[in-house]
Symmetry: C2
Subunit: 199 residues, 2 copies
DNA sequence: CGGAGATCGAACCGATCGGTACGATCTCGA
DNA sequence: TCGAGATCGTACCGATCGGTTCGATCTCCG
């Protein structure tokens, strides 16, 4: 029971607890795979409380996607930064982090992409697009520091690789996916640096 | 009105017409984005007829996904085969075909991946996994004929690139995506052939 | 101690959903 | 011409959904 009853009545803490618990359930079962009533029962909160904090099921979904996008992006950025100054190591660290994620038993693909495939509504699509933007920024930065001939191009190609690896890991098996993607990413980086931009 | 009323009462033709019309609607609106009643109204068929042919909405969905997976895979394979004997041209042709698809106004990503993100049920997941298998076969074949050092590895990396490009095109904009993916694929092919497998 | 507000639990609402039933209509083949 | 069967249109069913309301309870703070 993640939300400890009335306990200390701190609305902000309640909201955060709902968000965290709901994220896990909705990610595992799908946005439409669990109704509000069951969701409230699972996370131990009344419907009135949930609706006062988020107004709508869609409101909860959007808040959850926003928080998750920021969290996972920050996680990848930190993994990259912790790898040192060599852009090549930074890129490898990104895919090592992804590989770790793929092996998590609760891994079910990118929550933002899954959500966009279910809710065709505009806010969700915008959050998903922004999520890909965050990834693109991270990857393009690596491409720039690596001296790629065309950093925006390489950034977008790496974005495809990241998202493709996630999709393949989710729907075709996680075995080796992270490592294979890592090798491909480094190969692309090498080719992009060698072909014309070794300044 | 795709289903021409009672017309010639040919059950097989009716079934095929339902399948084709329903595919377009369900792909555009999402599997849960349109109910059976509205779906029947849109494609001009009664609920009884639809249920006699497919038994269940899920039955219709599965039949539609199976047909679509075969159709799109055959389309890619033919585009590849039509490019001649050079594996490099064949790979480029695959991504040219994808680029064409991305520019279609009704393009909304891979129907099988979208479906798997919505219906967590087993049959849909199996169809999606099999769909990726088909793609993998096509790409691994190209990798083999190109003399890659490790064709299964390159095949899977190309699979990630195909799916990643489709995801990015669907959720981050189609501009340039096909061409960028094509360049990346050819770069991977070159690297895989040069690195250790120039047979 | 007392009031404000957060929370609970359960009842309740209208809408929609997937699926069924039925009588009428149409086409085709014997 | 007549019967079998495919189809239509509509009404209907039970279940579930998202969302609201309300009285009771609890915690905090003055």
């Amino acid at each position: 029971m993640p939300v400890p009853k009335g306990s200390t009545i701190d609305p902000e803490r309640t909201r955060a607890a709902i968000l965290e618990a709901a994220t896990a359930v909705l990610y595992e079962r799908g946005l439409d795979g669990v109704g509000v009533a069951e969701l409230c029962a699972l996370i131990g909160v009344s419907k009135e409380t949930l609706y006062r904090h988020f107004g709508t099921k869609d409101g909860l979904v959007e808040a959850m996607l926003r928080a998750r996008s920021e969290r996972v992006t920050r996680w990848l950025a930190e993994a990259s930064a912790a790898a040192g100054d060599d852009p090549r190591d930074q890129l490898a660290a990104v895919f090592d982090a992804l590989r770790e994620w793929y092996q998590d038993p609760v891994f079910r693909g990118c929550a933002m992409l899954n959500a966009a495939a279910q809710h065709h509504v505009e806010p969700v699509r915008a959050i998903t697009a922004r999520h890909l933007d965050r990834y693109l920024d991270l990857l393009t930065g690596i491409a720039e520091r690596a001296g790629a001939a065309d950093p925006p191009l390489l950034g977008r190609q790496l974005l495809m690789l990241v998202e493709g690896a996630t999709v393949v890991a989710a729907h075709h098996g996680t075995a080796g996916t992270g490592e294979q993607a890592r090798q491909a990413a480094l190969a692309l980086l090498s080719a992009a640096s060698r072909d014309g931009g070794g300044d």
